[in-house]
């Protein structure tokens, strides 16, 4: 029984990480239908900038703000230099551009930072909570709280503000949104900036658990993308449920079945769910208007 509890806590920890990364995909997808594969690099920037700023003597909260600001800046530059000039290109082309951008950012990070892996200290210590014979690190709760706050903030933003509604409108029909006076270009630009901020926030919160290095984004983005697909692309609640499910599936199969096959078990589960529900658990069905 304590073993099973430990597997669940581990799943919760890993799942919370995936959920927070998955959330970053939602905004850009909502605004432009583009899956931004450079999302993992925003997460990397969050962790790396925070580490190097704190190492240089900057207090953690200011370092975190710096990290978020630099990811926002990178998001805007990415939009200005790579996405905006390709206006009118198909969604697939734009996705390929983001893959190129992710490789580029990784290469630059390798030179600007270094090739070592780093950790920032946990926000409230490393002493684990003991519950029913199993242990949970306080940092996991920070990640879960960060996830919950981000979801709530995203929901308020998208449903309760004019700009948020403009994003939703742009995603529903770009031409119609333009006709009613939405500046769709700045909507997409802001969505890149926001995604940068969410990604960096994720990077800051998870680095005490996952460690960080210039290439940490690749796998996190892949897992986060899988989680977002599982939950239904574009739905913040779906991203969280997808992330937690994926983390649970991986860690439970590592503990109960075999650590060799845990990734395989998790991905087979995703395939099965998508087979039955092609739009994910919370995805809205796409209606083609003719």
């Amino acid at each position: 029984m304590p073993e099973l509890m430990q597997f669940m806590f581990s799943g919760l920890t890993v799942g919370a990480v995936y959920a927070l990364v998955a959330l970053g995909f939602t905004i850009i997808y909502n605004a432009s239908d583009v899956v931004n594969f450079a999302q993992g690099e925003f997460v990397m920037l969050g962790g790396m900038v925070t580490f190097f700023a704190t190492a240089a003597g900057v207090p953690l909260p200011i370092a975190a703000v710096l990290a978020i600001a630099s990811a926002v800046a990178v998001g805007l530059v990415l939009y200005k230099l790579a996405i905006e000039p390709a206006r009118g290109a198909s969604v697939v082309t734009l996705i390929i551009i983001t893959i190129g951008a992710s490789i580029f950012i990784r290469g630059v990070a390798q030179i600007v930072f270094d090739k070592q892996f780093h950790r920032i200290p946990a926000f409230s210590g490393d002493a684990p909570f003991k519950i029913l014979g199993a242990t949970l690190l306080p940092q996991s709760l920070w990640v879960l709280a960060g996830t919950a706050i981000t979801v709530a903030a995203l929901w308020l933003f998208l449903q309760r503000t004019i700009f948020g509604k403009a994003i939703v409108a742009t995603s529903a029909n770009r031409l119609a949104a333009q006709l009613v006076g939405v500046d769709t270009n700045s909507v997409v630009a802001v969505s890149f900036a926001l995604s940068g901020a969410i990604g960096a926030l994720a990077g800051i919160l998870i680095t005490p658990i996952t460690l960080t290095s210039y290439d940490v984004g690749t796998l996190l983005a892949l897992k986060g993308f899988a989680a977002a697909m599982l939950g239904g692309m574009g739905n913040p609640v779906g991203a969280v449920v997808g992330g937690l499910l994926l983390g649970m599936a991986e860690q439970l199969s590592a503990g109960l079945i075999s650590s060799k096959y845990k990734d395989a078990v998790a991905f087979i589960m995703i395939l099965l769910i998508l087979f039955v529900l092609p739009n994910g658990l919370f995805g809205r069905a796409r209606v083609e208007r003719v």
Binding site: E3, Q6, F7, F9, S10, T13, V14, V17, K115, Q116, F117, H118, R119, P121, D126, P128, T135, L137, I206, I209, T210, L211, S213, V216, L219, Q251, L252, A254, G255, S259, K260, K262, D263
Partner: protein, 384 residues
């Protein structure tokens, strides 16, 4: 426009002239090849190796070179791609006319280049880790790094001495972790140690508590061995403390770096691992035969490259020194004569240990090359 054209033409001419002169100078140089993974996933190996070779070659040339000639290191970057490494090896032999190679950052790169150097009958001192490089013995191939097998033996020796005979293993699924796990399982029988739990994790996993929980649940576990490299072992160490293990944790030589200790934090306290003398250069007793070499290399490299030393750069340092000494003894750069002299190397003190080569041993290191260390308060302490 005319100005631009004239400018380009003269720039081209200048390039041609300077190219021609450097070719003329190169005629009286001894060329040594080095195909290294300077970029790519194995750049943590190739980068310090390339810097070390350049530094050491400059130093040798300043002191008058070898056999009255200057040496030149021809470096190609394989990016960790074995197919590219093989192409560059052919280029080294056929176009650059090198007299030997000190290179091959990874075992993969090395294995791809061995046939080229065996055919050309030129000495090849590899920097690849696995035992496959020198077993079976190939006439022209040598290596300087320790093998996984030696690390396993050193760890098991320590466990046996402490009466720890029932252990759990948790290994990374990357090449390093897999290879070390296999080598350890081959030699473990001779030490009378039993593996009760055998778990693995992906090199990029972020939480290993399920695997460690299963290890902990096995009755009678007396120690745990983590064969891994990179960030995985840091997370294993932190999870190990989180779960409140009371038995000792052994790590491999793969984590013998400051990065591991920093990333694992307090959790690394009490962890034991085998490592080369280079990492504890300043802490070695003055009577240690390796002290002068490792302190000298550490000082020179940190000044030259402005980065901490790693054992990988040390392997390149040993490789080039071994080769240069053999050339001096042979009094010639003839491939076969130099090879014979490398094989006769006895009592060579390098950063990796004391090297005694023989026709049946093309590495020449024994277990004394490794020191058992324990981490105390974020620093290494030598055991015994």
């Amino acid at each position: 426009m005319t100005f631009m054209r004239a400018f380009t033409a003269s720039a081209l001419a200048l390039l041609l002239v300077s190219g021609a002169t450097s070719a003329a100078v190169a005629q009286d140089k001894i060329k040594i090849g080095a195909v290294l993974a300077v970029t790519g996933p194995a750049s943590f190996l190739g980068d310090p190796e390339a810097k070390t070779l350049k530094m050491l070659a400059d130093d040798i040339n300043k002191k008058g070179g070898v056999l009255g000639k200057q040496i030149e290191i021809v470096i190609y970057d394989s990016g960790g791609d074995a197919a590219k490494a093989k192409q560059f090896a052919t280029r080294l032999v056929e176009d650059d006319k090198v007299i030997a190679q000190v290179g091959g950052s990874t075992t993969g790169d090395t294995m791809a280049m061995i046939p080229v150097f065996e055919d050309a009958k030129l000495p090849f001192i590899s920097l690849g880790g696995a035992v496959a490089v020198i077993e079976p013995i190939k006439k022209f191939v040598f290596k300087t790094p320790h093998t996984d097998k030696m690390a396993c033996e050193k760890i098991f020796e320590d466990m046996k001495k402490r009466g720890l005979t029932k252990i759990g293993m948790i290994s990374g699924q990357d090449a390093f972790g897999k290879s070390m796990r296999d080598e350890c399982k081959k030699v473990i029988g001779t030490y009378g140690i039993e593996v009760l739990a055998d778990e693995t994790y992906g090199p990029r996993d972020t939480d290993m508590t399920p695997q460690l929980t299963n290890v902990k649940a096995k009755v009678g576990i007396q120690a745990v061995l983590n064969a891994g490299f990179g960030q995985g072992p840091s997370i294993v160490t932190r999870n190990y403390k989180q779960l409140g293990f009371t038995v000792p944790l052994y790590q491999s030589h793969g984590v013998a770096s400051k990065g591991y200790v920093d990333a694992a934090g307090d959790a690394a306290d009490g962890v034991r691992l085998p490592a080369a003398a280079l990492l504890i250069a300043e802490k070695l007793p003055d009577s240690d035969p390796q002290k002068a070499v490792v302190v000298g290399y550490t000082k020179a490299f940190t000044e030259y490259a402005k980065q901490p030393v790693s054992t990988f750069g040390g392997h390149a340092y040993d490789g080039l020194n071994l080769l240069v000494e053999a050339i001096k003894r042979a009094g010639s750069t003839d491939g076969t004569k130099v090879r014979d002299e490398i094989e006769k190397t006895k009592g060579f003190i390098g950063t990796g240990g004391v090297v005694n080569m023989s026709p049946t041993d093309h590495m020449g290191l024994d277990l004394s090359a490794f020191r058992m260390l324990e981490i105390k308060k974020g620093d290494w302490v030598a055991l015994q």
